[in-house]
């Protein structure tokens, strides 16, 4: 670990074993699909095969007549619901091939299929529009009547900084380029799954769902049933991956199951097939990035102009929030005086785009980090040097006009460059003979605003309870998504309270245990979400110290100390032992105090809410503080390209990330290893490639992901920066881990081949022919 300064911690900065690790690796953990209840029904949905259509007739008589089919529900039955996604549980206006028109519940999975096949639907096909370019054409069919030119107005953001015209006047070199990225699937191992049932004891609609954001999912259930939120009990099931995918989609699935359970008075289990998951879960937004960049011949970037348009698909699924982030990051990790960028989404009759690990950054960086190299080449300059000149440093002013501190970007880059022998290799590969297999090395740097920033309030709550035996129970409004949140939170709780990590228990989120703390997204869990955990721990530590003092728990016999002299300030609690700061040999075990507290009625719990600083921004110019801090990173990819087939073999990836403070180094490495392979898929082989809106790749036989055989050698470097903004100084890592990989690969492919791949991914055909073969 590379760190700025040594500080003493007892629990964090250690690779503690995952709190939920044994259950998962031993197979004991039950996921939602594993749950079973007596008399349980199974559910399914009927999807439109058309991309743009209207249902003219639907007849469910035959389906209802099938023995064992307990409920058949169509869009007509759900007129009063509003949904919390851009799209509905069921609909008669089809905007993409995947919209659902009906759902059923039946005694077996095969009866579900029979019932769905027995529903008769007639459609009137309507004109559709599928690409960004077509959607923006004059007179293009409108996906939503209320959005002119198919532009999603609410997702339009701008940066206006300095004077763009003056900026370009100062430039000796001006470059204009266009880059494009593709739809990709999250590809979590576990498809969406839920079990919904009316709990006979409480009368509550109880749902156990593979929900990334349990409280968000609860809203859908309340909506579809028309009941108050406190009549819904949401218990988060263990998640088999999400990466941003189990947000809106799982809300709809859970609500549908709850509705069917409500109608049939039976438990209903709804588990998506992989095909259902491909057809309904959101995808990463494809972007069309048009950039214009100007620099002086000395290599100072003086102007940056950009238009970033993303394909939102048929429905708005967070495009406005994502584009806010894309807007903030629209000119890359560089200090540029004059910037003018516009970012907006368009509607098309495709599967909807939504949150996916990176939230626009993987697309943007794919463009920006190639652009900077194209500029370097145009300037006849070394691409690392050009980055050094322009990258953010302490005191640099960002695109939103705010100075940044604790910026270790250049150190991270220089270290990675040196570690990989990048300079020598890059020069050597450029001159390599014209052989069939060519080596390439490519670099990309990145920065990422930590947490939600000004996008939405980054507040959270934590409940912490000390039990009489000294064990500790915590509940948080943010949820374990597989990323290790529970482990990190337990470490932070133990550190703040002063107990052992092993003393903490932190079960799955239950909506009756804690208040809604927003979504577990934006890599905010540790950096911001855990602030309330630290706060609760520190508060409870004070309470427990006060208890220890009031109960006169220390034995002062044989010392010249008296209780009259002692104050709370004199006492500390670490590793589950109270001690006097001035006399560390005078101690009392935590458990002695907790045991005494319970019989004397002392407080042994704390609930704390964390509210971050206000971040006001100007909508027209995008100026203002966007994030509490940024995380920096550098990724170097090494490839071997088969010049005869276009096959890109990713040999090695070196990834260095500024994590602020490494709460759990092993989990950080796990995040980065996974992020690298996910970035490899994005950069080399993954492409949903819908044809006229229809998703053809609906399972992992045709949707190609990297296998373990494809994973490269990986060298991961963790940097700590000393920046105090996040919880114990921690920064985001979940998304930084993957965001720059595809850009580094594209730059490596260029180094190897001299071919600039401006349309992701670097698949066989694109590398060989320089274009997509579709």
């Amino acid at each position: 670990m590379n760190q700025v300064k040594e500080e003493n911690y007892n629990v964090i900065r250690r690779s503690k074993p995952r709190i939920d690790g044994v259950e998962k690796v031993s197979g004991r953990a039950l996921y939602a699909a594993d749950l079973y209840m007596e008399g349980m029904l199974y559910a399914g949905v009927l999807r439109s095969p058309y991309s743009s259509a209207r249902v003219t007739r639907i007849n469910t008589d035959k389906a209802k007549a099938i023995e064992g089919v307990e409920a058949v529900v169509t869009f007509a039955d759900l007129r009063k619901t509003k949904s919390w996604a851009g799209y509905m549980y069921l609909t008669d206006r089809i905007r993409y091939a995947g919209d659902c028109v009906a759902m059923v519940a039946a005694k077996s999975k095969s009866l579900v299929e029979d019932a769905l096949e027995a529903i008769e639907v007639e459609y009137e096909e309507l004109p559709g529009v599928y690409t960004i370019d077509d959607a923006l054409e004059e007179g293009a069919p409108l996906v939503h009547e209320e959005y002119e030119k198919n532009i999603f107005k609410d997702s339009l953001f701008h940066i206006r900084k300095g004077d763009i015209e003056k900026g370009f006047e100062q430039a000796d070199v001006i470059l204009e380029r266009e880059y494009r990225t593709q739809y990709i699937e999250h590809s979590y191992i576990e498809p969406e799954a839920v079990l919904a049932y009316m709990d006979p004891n409480s009368g509550l609609m109880t749902v156990q769902a593979s929900a990334q954001n349990p409280f968000f999912t609860r809203r859908y259930v309340s909506d579809i049933l028309g009941i108050p939120l406190n009549k819904v009990r949401m218990i988060q099931a263990i998640l088999g991956g999400t990466f941003g995918g189990k947000e809106e989609g799982i809300g709809l699935v859970t609500a549908r199951a709850a509705y069917l359970s409500y109608q049939t008075k039976r438990p209903v289990k709804f588990v998506f097939s992989r095909e259902d998951s491909f057809l309904e879960s959101s995808k990463r937004h494809p972007f069309r990035l048009r950039y214009k960049i100007g620099a002086t011949k000395e290599g100072k970037i003086v102007a940056f102009e950009g238009e970033q348009v993303d394909n939102g698909g048929a429905y708005n699924n967070q495009t406005q929030f994502m584009n806010w982030r894309a807007n903030v990051h629209s000119s890359g990790p560089y200090e540029i005086e004059n910037i003018k960028t516009d970012t907006y989404g368009v509607f098309t009759n495709n599967i909807h785009s939504g949150a996916m690990r990176g939230y626009s950054s993987p697309s943007l960086i794919f463009g920006q980090e190639q652009l900077i190299e194209e500029l370097a080449e145009e300037l006849g300059m070394d691409e690392v040097e050009l980055r050094r000149i322009n990258c953010l440093k302490d005191g640099s002013v960002t695109a939103t006009g705010i100075p940044v501190e604790y910026v270790i970007l250049q150190d991270v880059m220089d270290d990675t460059v040196e570690r990989t022998d990048y300079i020598r290799k890059h020069a050597e590969y450029k001159q390599q003979p014209d052989t069939r297999f060519r080596k390439g090395i490519g670099l990309a740097i990145c920065y990422r605003g930590c947490g939600l920033g000004a996008e939405s309030p980054d507040a959270s709550g934590c409940m912490m309870i000390v039990n009489e035996d000294g064990s500790v129970s915590i509940a948080s409004g943010l949820a374990e998504n597989g990323q290790g949140l529970k482990t990190a939170y337990a470490q932070i709780a133990a550190e703040a309270l002063g107990v052992h990590y092993e003393d903490i228990q932190f079960p799955q989120l239950d909506s009756f245990a804690i208040a809604d703390s927003g979504m577990t997204v934006a890599s905010r869990g540790t950096v911001m979400g855990a602030q309330s955990v630290r706060k609760a721990g520190e508060k409870l530590k004070k309470v427990m110290i006060k208890n220890a003092l009031e109960l006169r728990s220390f034995s002062l016999e044989g010392t010249d100390l008296t209780y009259e002299q002692l104050t709370e300030e004199d006492i500390d609690l670490k590793d589950a032992v109270f001690f006097l700061k001035a006399h560390p040999e005078i101690t009392v075990p935590f458990t002695s105090v907790t045991g005494a507290c319970i019989w004397t009625g002392k407080q042994m719990a704390a609930y704390e809410w964390f509210m971050p600083e206000d971040l006001p921004q100007d909508h027209e110019t995008g100026q203002g503080k966007a994030f509490p801090t940024f995380a920096y990173g550098c990724v170097i990819a090494e490839v071997e390209v088969d010049m005869r087939t276009g096959y890109v073999d990713l040999k090695k990836v070196t990834a260095s990330h500024d994590v602020g403070r490494a709460i759990n180094p092993a989990l950080i490495k796990g995040q980065i290893y996974g992020g690298i392979v996910m970035g490899q898929g994005y950069g080399i082989m993954e492409d949903v490639a819908p044809k006229n809106g229809k998703v053809k790749n609906r399972n992992f036989d045709s949707y190609i992901l990297p296998t373990s055989m494809d994973a490269p050698e990986m060298d991961v470097q963790i940097f700590e920066s000393g920046d105090p903004a996040g919880t114990y100084g921690a920064k985001s890592i979940g998304e930084p881990a993957t965001e720059a990989v595809a850009a580094a690969i594209a730059n490596a492919v260029y180094n190897a081949t001299g071919r600039r791949i401006r349309e992701n991914p670097c698949d066989l055909e694109t590398v060989l022919l320089g274009k997509k073969l579709r």
């Binding site: 299929e113 005869r644 087939t645 494809d710 066989l764 055909e765 060989l768 073969l773």
Partner: protein
């Protein structure tokens, strides 16, 4: 959801009887790595399916690799893993073992059978190309006994094989390659495992005492509607010494044959140069990269 009977055959005769009874609406399942996926996808080929006839319990009769004189007999239930590990295959037909070892994943290779792979009739099947290069025969069993047809003629059209209603494939028979023959198999997929071949090629060569090629076989997969050797390419090799230049000529002959047979398609722009490279790879593997 497709609904059909499941029938487990106890004897080869019973297989024919059941097939006949269902009059073309029964389909054999062995490893199930193709058909179970197709049924799940509701492939319209199986819309009329009335029976899945399971051969898995006929291993004694149908799972074998036998060396007899100058022939090798491969039972239809032989798995890809069996081929990959067989000493007989390694000794006499190494490219068949290699091709089988590149199929799917270990799980698929453990279940998938050579009979299933051939009868599924995908032009991308990896073990198909060495069998075509070997001029394999298909031994077909019906109610009236056995008949033999060349593997090439067994394919009656894209994705189709010639079996009568009561027939099933019992084995593939190949003649051992002439002593001293070297073989190669090359494949291009989109990733290193679990990859359906975008292109694949099997090649076999023998050199005479002067180092000239006197025996040559080249069988590409994925590019023809029914599998075949490319004799024009093989003929280019005969009487000449191995060289990169010669491999290039052979590769060109294969891509020309592809265009002659299937015309220019949307994918030709890519396949033409790439298949040439894969042919060269297979030939290079035969001789190693060192040329005398």
């Amino acid at each position: 959801m497709f609904k059909y009977d499941y029938y487990r055959a106890e004897t080869p005769d019973e297989v024919c009887e059941v097939l006949a009874r269902y009059q073309g609406k029964a389909r054999i399942v062995a490893g199930g790595t193709d058909i179970m996926v197709q049924i799940r996808e509701k492939d319209k080929r199986w819309k009329e399916l009335e029976c899945l006839l399971d051969l898995s319990f006929l291993e004694d009769e149908l799972r074998y690799i036998r060396e007899e004189g100058d022939q090798i007999h491969i039972g239809a239930l032989t798995t890809h893993t069996d081929l990959e590990r067989s000493e007989v295959i390694k000794r006499w037909l190494p490219f068949l073992g290699k091709a089988a070892s590149t199929v799917g994943s270990p799980q698929i290779r453990n279940r998938g059978t050579i009979g299933g792979s051939i009868c599924n009739a995908s032009p991308a099947a990896d073990p198909l190309t060495p069998l075509i290069a070997l001029d394999a025969w298909t031994v077909i069993r019906g109610r009236d006994g056995e008949r033999v047809v060349t593997l090439k003629d067994f394919y009656t059209g894209q994705g189709k094989v010639g079996l009568k209603e009561d027939e099933f494939v019992k084995e593939f028979t190949v003649r051992k390659l002439p002593e001293g023959t070297v073989t190669g198999f090359a494949k291009l997929g989109r990733r290193k495992a679990l990859a359906i071949s975008r292109l694949n090629v099997s090649a076999a060569l023998r050199l005479d005492e002067e180092g000239r090629i006197d025996f040559a076989r080249i069988a590409p997969g994925c590019i023809f509607s029914t599998p075949d050797r490319v004799e024009t390419a093989e003929n280019i090799l005969i009487g000449r010494k191995p060289s990169e230049e010669l491999w290039r000529e052979a590769g060109k002959a294969v891509s020309e044959e592809m265009i002659r047979r299937t015309g220019i398609r949307w994918s030709t722009e890519y396949k033409q140069p790439a298949v040439e490279a894969i042919v060269e790879d297979a030939l290079t593997e035969c001789c190693g990269s060192q040329f005398a």
